[in-house]
Each structure stands twice: as structure tokens, then as C-alpha cells.
Symmetry: C2
Subunit: 264 residues, 2 copies
């Protein structure tokens, strides 16, 4: 009996040690399933399961299979906001064509009580995140006077249209005086292509009923948590569509349009 207990205790500690070692290795790494340029160019078919994505991070953002809205990952839960506005936790057996995640570990906390528009917030972040060649995961939560988000509708007909040509199909949502979380990243310019450089945030209301890709905002009282990352890891789609994708086209302007949700 005592012998069995010994065995279980040793297995338990062996397991804990393994989990810890893996956890430390995974921290500080930005994981990307897919390639941003290919996704924006029309590769909306999912290839990476949410179940596997959870093994790569507990925080992040992305897109659902066949576009069908926007994805946000917070505290290990994955939420989808469809173009109807409907927001819900995804089926872990579902999958994504493009997502960016990390295991969030707060390095630094900032409190902001000024009202800041999106560009003012980004200018403030710029003044704080001084290493322009670093990757920062950024979690912002609190009260917002305004949140404006968008979500793309599901695409069904192939060949899919590049994202920058689908802006007229976006659905927009306006929320006044709302509490919630912004989940996003600062990505350095040298990662443009495989990722989307600059700032990029998705939103989830505190009641988990609303979300989407951030188009505009006005802060009221927020907390900003920063996690600086030193590695990035990319899982490339092993699909015929990716194999045949033309990377020669410069999509810098397309990315800008998609990020801002407008054609100019």
C-alpha cells in the first residue's frame, strides 16, 4: 500500500516537473497558425484545430474557418464573434485558418484613466513600448466609453475573394459605456507578411456576449498588461492552396485596408 502511494507520488512529481519545463519553454513565444499574407490573400479554409491552438497559448486572436467572423482567445477560452454579432465559445474540434497566440505572463502593468481614442492609445503604447524590434502581447481591460468593432461574414463560394476586396461585406457594431477586454499584439515591421505589423486588437465584452475586430475605441478607465516575447513560431498550412499561393504580390496596402476596415 505504502509502496503504491510512493509510486503515485513520484509519477505525480515527474508529471509536474515535465509540465513546468514545457510551460517555461512555451512562455515568451508568439505562436502563429498560418501565414497572414496567405490568409489575407484568400486562404480562409481552416487547417489548425482549436484544441491544438490551446496547447500553444491561452491568449490571442484569429479568424474562424471560412472567415465567419473573428476569434479572440482569453484565459484559455476561445470565443467567436460572427457577423450577426453572436458571440460564443467555439467547439474545440473546430479549426482556424489563421490565429496568433501566446501564454500570457504579465511583465508590466499600466493604468490609464484618460479618455483616449484608438490612435491616442496607440501613441501612448508607442511611448511606453520603446523597443520597436520587439514583440509585445497586450491585454487591456476596463471601462470603455466607446467600442466599434467589425466582423466578416462567412465565405462559401470558391475561389475566395481577397480580404481587402470584401470590406463592403463587413458588419459593424457600436457599443457605448461597455466593460470588456482588448486582446492583441504589437508586431515589429520585420515580421510583416507572416504576421500583421503594428497594433492589432480584438474585443470581448465582460459578459462574453459581444466582440469583434477593433475599428475605433474611446477609453475611460483601463488597465494595460504587457508581455514582451522573444521568440516566434509559425506553423505553415500543409495544404494545396498554400503550396500554390503566390507570395510575390505585395499586400502591404491590402493589410492596411483590412486592419482599418476601410478602403483608404
Amino acid at each position: 500500500m505504502i509502496c503504491h502511494i510512493k509510486v503515485y507520488i513520484l509519477i505525480f512529481f515527474s508529471f509536474i516537473c515535465t509540465v513546468n519545463a514545457q510551460q517555461i519553454a512555451r512562455e515568451n513565444t508568439l505562436f502563429t497558425a498560418g501565414h497572414a499574407s496567405a490568409f489575407i490573400g484568400g486562404l480562409y479554409d481552416a487547417f489548425y484545430t482549436y484544441k491544438d491552438l490551446k496547447l500553444k497559448g491561452d491568449f490571442g486572436l484569429g479568424a474562424p474557418d471560412q472567415l465567419d467572423g473573428e476569434i479572440l482567445i482569453l484565459k484559455g477560452k476561445i470565443y467567436q464573434t460572427q457577423s450577426s454579432g453572436k458571440t460564443f465559445e467555439v467547439d474545440p474540434n473546430g479549426s482556424t485558418p489563421f490565429s496568433v497566440v501566446n501564454f500570457f505572463k504579465t511583465d508590466r502593468v499600466l493604468k490609464v484613466t484618460k479618455t483616449l481614442h484608438k490612435n491616442q492609445l496607440y501613441a501612448y503604447l508607442d511611448s511606453v513600448l520603446t523597443n520597436k524590434n520587439a514583440i509585445y502581447a497586450i491585454h487591456i481591460y476596463g471601462e470603455f466609453d466607446l467600442i466599434r468593432t467589425r466582423a466578416f461574414p462567412k465565405v462559401t463560394q470558391k475561389p475566395y475573394t481577397p480580404l481587402a476586396e470584401m470590406l463592403s461585406l463587413q458588419h459593424f457594431f457600436n457599443f457605448e459605456r461597455i466593460n470588456g477586454d482588448l486582446v492583441g499584439y504589437y508586431i515589429p515591421a520585420f515580421m510583416e507578411g507572416e504576421n500583421i505589423s503594428g497594433y492589432h486588437f480584438h474585443f470581448l465584452s465582460v459578459d462574453k456576449q459581444h466582440g469583434g475586430h477593433i475599428i475605433e475605441l474611446l477609453t475611460n478607465r483601463i488597465t494595460i498588461e504587457i508581455d514582451q516575447l522573444s521568440n516566434f513560431n509559425v506553423a505553415l498550412p500543409q495544404t494545396t492552396a498554400f503550396k500554390n499561393f503566390d507570395f510575390k504580390k505585395d499586400r502591404t496596402e491590402e493589410v492596411k485596408k483590412v486592419e482599418n476596415g476601410k478602403a483608404n
Copy 2:
């Protein structure tokens, strides 16, 4: 006594399972310590130990601290070829400013008995490696009628000169009828910047006495082993030099010059 044996057996299997799971996860991943553009731009100071590099791959190539020649990794051993031609196994406590490695697992084997110059060999590889958006690790070994390599001398004076401006300092080595290994990669165009796109090989003679970056070659009887990779992982230097590095400059032409070992 039997109880103790049980405990050891269970710990042993727990350990084996963990190692296996980690091994599978690491396969199919190209690991890069550093950033090619930054390295070619003059960031020759090492930041990643060889000891840690061995945990990321048993096959690959790179550069030593302060340039000081060329690095090749084969079957878990790391070799340095200095500009004097001297070739030796590195001290695991040493470190690298830029290296690319993977755990090599052969997917496909090809035998070539024709004499091919470098460009003919690359054209042959092009005909075989049909996925231009894939990463391939390539191990070529056998007999060569000619091998021409180069190695850069150690840099000592800061600020360091960009690599493309140091071509006159290269040392070249010619070997006729030599047996050995070519270790290298095909990197897709969309990874240019963080890596060096196209083909890139380093050489090690079978007696481990000669090496360097491949400039020209003529095959006699070779075996080609291919390992297709689906992920890439980049460890960014957490240094002031990297923080301050200007990524805006387009270094495409510089990279070409450095790869070919000549200014035009």
C-alpha cells in the same frame, strides 16, 4: 525491493514518453537563432549558446561569434571552419549570432551519379522539390570532383562592417576529389529577411578537417536526403544592437552578394 524496481520502471517510462513527445514536436521545425537581415547588416556578436542550439537541432549551419569563419552542424556535432581553413568541433559553451538548425529525419532519398555544377545541382533540386512554399532541409554526401568554399575572418573592430562590404576579406579553399557532406536548406521566398531564401549549403570533409560556405562544386557520386519541414521558430536576440537595428533598409541585393561570395 520489488517496490523500488516498480518505481524506477515507472519513472523510466514516464521519462521516455516525455522525451518522445518532445522529440516529435521538435521534428518538422526549422529553428533559427537570430535574424538573417540583422546578421548580414553587421550584428556578428553571438547571443545563443551552442549548448542551447543542440537542443533545437542536430543538423544545420550558421556563423561563429564575431564571424570568425563558418559553422556546420551534423549528427549533433558542431564544427567551425576559420578563415585559416582550420576546422574543429566548437566548445559547447561558445555561442552564435546566427544559426539555422533542425532535427533531421529523412523523408526521401535520391542518388545522383551525374557530374553537376552548383547551378545544375540546384536546378535538379528545383525539379524534385516542387513545393516552392515549403522549407526543405537537405543533406548531400558522397564524392565531389570539386568543392570551393569560403570563410570570413574574425571581426574585432566596432562598429562592424555589413557583410556585403567584407567580401574582399573572404578566404577561399579549393578541394579536388574530396568526400564529405553538404548541409543546407531550401528556404521559401516569403521567409527572406528572417532567413536567407533559396539554397544555402556549408561543407564538411569526411575527415572533418575542411569546411566552409559553398561557393562552387562539381558532384561525382552523391546521395541526397530530404527532410520537408512545416514549422519555423525564431529566437530573436535580446540585445541593444538588435533593438537599435534598422530593418528599413532593403538588403536583398546584399544577401545575394554574400551568398555567392562576389560583388556582382
